[in-house]
């Protein structure tokens, strides 16, 4: 069966420090991958999505970047964190099968607090 892992679960980082959040999917191949941020009062905001290795689409201009070095690995990064980067980050995956997309499956999330 397919599973998705995100780590770390919680993270406290000082302003100006770098960030690397990792997400991996097991049990499937060539998934579509997504990074979302869940901020209080703002719902779920799509940050990046990827349809394949090295293919990243950015949804909103921001202080973050994403990379997909392997088929089932999706990384969210920042060179210098801002206070406004605090939030709950969710990774998700789905499959495209013959023009039909499966539902999106979400990870447990990472709670990032920038201090």
């Amino acid at each position: 069966s397919q599973t998705i892992h995100q780590w770390p679960a919680t993270l406290v980082q000082p302003v100006g420090s770098p960030l690397s959040l990792e997400c991996t999917v097991e049990g499937t191949s060539n998934p579509n991958l997504y990074w979302y941020r869940q901020a209080a009062g703002r719902g779920l905001q799509l940050l990046f999505y990827s349809v394949g290795i090295g293919q990243i689409s950015s949804e909103v201009p921001q202080n973050l970047s994403a990379s997909r070095p392997q088929d089932r690995q999706f990384i969210l990064s920042s060179k210098k964190l801002l206070l406004s980067d605090s939030g709950f980050y969710l990774c998700a995956w789905s499959l495209e099968l013959g023009g039909f997309n499966t539902e999106a499956f979400f990870g447990q999330g990472t709670r990032l607090t920038v201090v």
Partner: protein, 110 residues
């Protein structure tokens, strides 16, 4: 612009009362809509999708293209329905990406 709107941040009802969580969307193409739910300390998970036309945990949602709505309904709320509910719209040809509404917190009181 494509967007999903959930006008209520919080909806509080008593057990056994009917529930309707509102969702409106704006999309230029043929929409595919979903309801996701997040129970306390659990992952966000799919509740239902409009193309399935099914009832899950007593919840139903009908796509109304005329009113561009996809409201979630349940005739008799239960305490275990208390959770955060998100309406989502899928884009075609963009990696199947989903955009979500702001979410509605449903609180069912005994």
């Amino acid at each position: 612009a494509q967007r999903v709107t959930q006008p209520e941040k919080l909806l509080s009802v008593f057990k056994g009362a009917p529930v309707e969580l509102k969702c409106n969307y704006s999309y230029s193409g043929s929409p595919e809509l979903f309801w996701y739910v997040q129970y306390s300390r659990q992952r966000l998970q799919l509740l239902l999708r409009h193309i399935s036309r099914e009832s899950i945990k007593g919840f139903t949602a009908d796509l109304n293209k005329g009113e561009t709505s996809f409201h979630l309904k349940k005739p008799f709320a239960q305490e275990e329905d208390s959770a955060m509910y998100y309406c989502a719209l899928r884009f075609y040809n963009q990696g199947g990406k989903l955009i979500f509404g702001q979410g509605t917190e449903l609180s069912v009181k005994p």
